[in-house]
């Protein structure tokens, strides 16, 4: 049970006078249950790659295998793939449309051909998983706060019962607490529901805090693919391609360069605090 991206390339406007390379020979293996961060500057190909994973865009070259089957095979059920690989777009709340939150979340499972009752059960379950306040499920989505709207929109994708959940910048525009809440909720989906998560993000601090593995995209290619510790140890190369490292990385390197005996590959505040405190205990 996994998703394998096998040497895919994608050319935009292939038949026009101005073909542009979107993806250039990308290979990835996504095993079950991982929490993967995908980073890269605007235009690096990360969103294009994500849209390949559920068959929204078809690669110009190469193949994608989901659970051992080539999704480009004739007769492959792309509709089923899209229910198993859920994609939450940027600002997903812009896609809310129904009169109530509950009706909105029921829409997807209803389209899968489930009975009304089964669709409703799934919707209810999805809203519970995203921590949506029960007393608000019959209100209009347009009367909700930004963070609540986003939860409702994510619930709409979860109600399809995906095995893999892809989120494109799910915290853009949210306040710090809202960011923590949404990311904490996503982490729980990974840990409790055993979902595979791909998180596209521009926040290095968030990525460092939550993911097991980071895929760095640059000019349509995979630039780095490793643990946060290893990826952020390449902070100088990351800067050259328009990214950065978490602030913690810079602090640890500065301390180390000034002779303090600390490990430079810690990436979260908690780890850094322990590492520095330990260094002072031996004083």
């Amino acid at each position: 049970m996994s998703l394998i991206v096998d040497h895919i390339s994608y050319i935009y406007d292939k038949d026009s006078g101005l073909p542009t390379v979107g993806l250039d020979d990308v290979s990835l293996s996504i095993p079950d249950g991982q929490f993967i961060g995908v980073i890269g500057h605007t235009g690096s190909g990360k969103s294009t790659l994500m849209q390949h994973l559920n068959g929204l865009i078809k690669a110009t070259k190469g193949s994608i295998y989901y659970n051992g089957e080539d999704i480009y095979d004739k007769g492959y059920d792309l509709k089923k793939l899209r229910s198993k690989v859920g994609l939450v777009f940027q600002y997903p709340e812009h896609q809310l449309f129904a009169e109530t939150v509950f009706a909105d979340v029921c829409y997807g499972p209803g389209n899968l051909g489930l009975s009304k009752k089964d669709a409703e059960l799934r919707a209810y379950d999805a809203l519970r998983k995203v921590g949506f306040p029960e007393e608000l499920i019959f209100t209009s989505p347009f009367d909700l706060s930004g963070g609540q709207k986003r939860r409702a929109a994510i619930a709409g994708v979860l109600a399809m019962k995906p095995e893999i959940l892809i989120l494109d910048e799910p915290t853009a525009g949210l306040d710090p607490k809202g960011r923590d809440e949404i990311l904490g909720m996503i982490k729980e989906l990974q840990q409790k529901e055993k979902m595979t998560i791909l998180l596209v993000s521009h926040s290095m601090d968030d990525v460092a805090q939550y993911v097991d593995r980071i895929v760095v995209m640059n000019h349509g290619k995979v630039f780095l693919d490793n643990t946060p510790q290893v990826v952020f140890s390449h902070y100088k190369e990351l800067e050259e391609i328009g990214l950065s490292a978490p602030q913690v990385t810079y602090i640890m390197h500065a301390l180390s360069e000034n002779g303090l005996d600390v490990k430079c590959d810690v990436t979260t505040i908690q780890e850094a605090a322990e590492e520095i405190a330990a260094c002072f205990k031996n004083n």
């Binding site: 306040d175 328009g242 602030q247 500065a254 000034n258």
Partner: protein
Amino acid sequence: MEIVKAKDVVFEYIRRDDEGEVVGITTAVDHVSLGIEKGDFIAILGHNGSGKSTLAKHFNAILVPEEGSVIVDGIDTSDSDKIWDVRQSAGMVFQNPDNQIIGQVVEEDVGFGPENIGVPTDEIWERVEKSLKAVGMYEFRKNSPNRLSGGQKQRISIAGVLAMKPKCIILDEPTAMLDPKGRKEVLEAVHELNKKEGVTVILITHYMEEVIDADKVFVMDGGKVVMQGTPRQIFSLVEDLKSLRLDVPQVTLLAYELKKKGLNLPDGILTTDELVENLLALKRN
């Protein structure tokens, strides 16, 4: 001199049902009074729904107060005859760069504002050149905005506002959709304008790191200004900020955690350099 002066400002959003009956009233701005000094770099923090964007929209007369008054560069924003004067003094840049660019060519887009208010052609070109240079985008003047990165597009939006020769520029989460490099470019451009051109800056953001160089920070909650002070004063109050759904910069948070572990560090450390210096000094003692 105060460029923006808000006195007892109240603004309410009224929700109505299909029949037009009032079903609820939200007081988005609740008796806010504040003054912003000319040439200052001001930041406004607050959680989603705290009223900061609604307040900011009063500073260039997109909204006018229901109670109280807002004076921008000596003009009362409720004077509907002077609305364009207010907007010329105080320009606004929004979150999504794609919603703010209309020209097919960068220099046309930047010249749109001055052309609209009847600035002579020669002067329009002068203003376009100067504005694009100020945000470091002059070499892209003949490009199509569609081919630019998010950070570059935002700098074009800022140049468009600058071409109106404003005294004050209000930025409502200008970096929310940008990658790290784009964020850095936009912030550097804004700081440059503030220092070199003396333009007053009002920055609304959810990124605490963007605020550390501000002259003054206002924190909003429930439509009121609940805290104000220098970044150091504000970010010393870690727990208070967290209870307002906000945060402190990562460096400040790390220093705070170390303090809790018994290290003798001052409150409100804001930069990597400061933290490193303090830790090294501690190690020497």
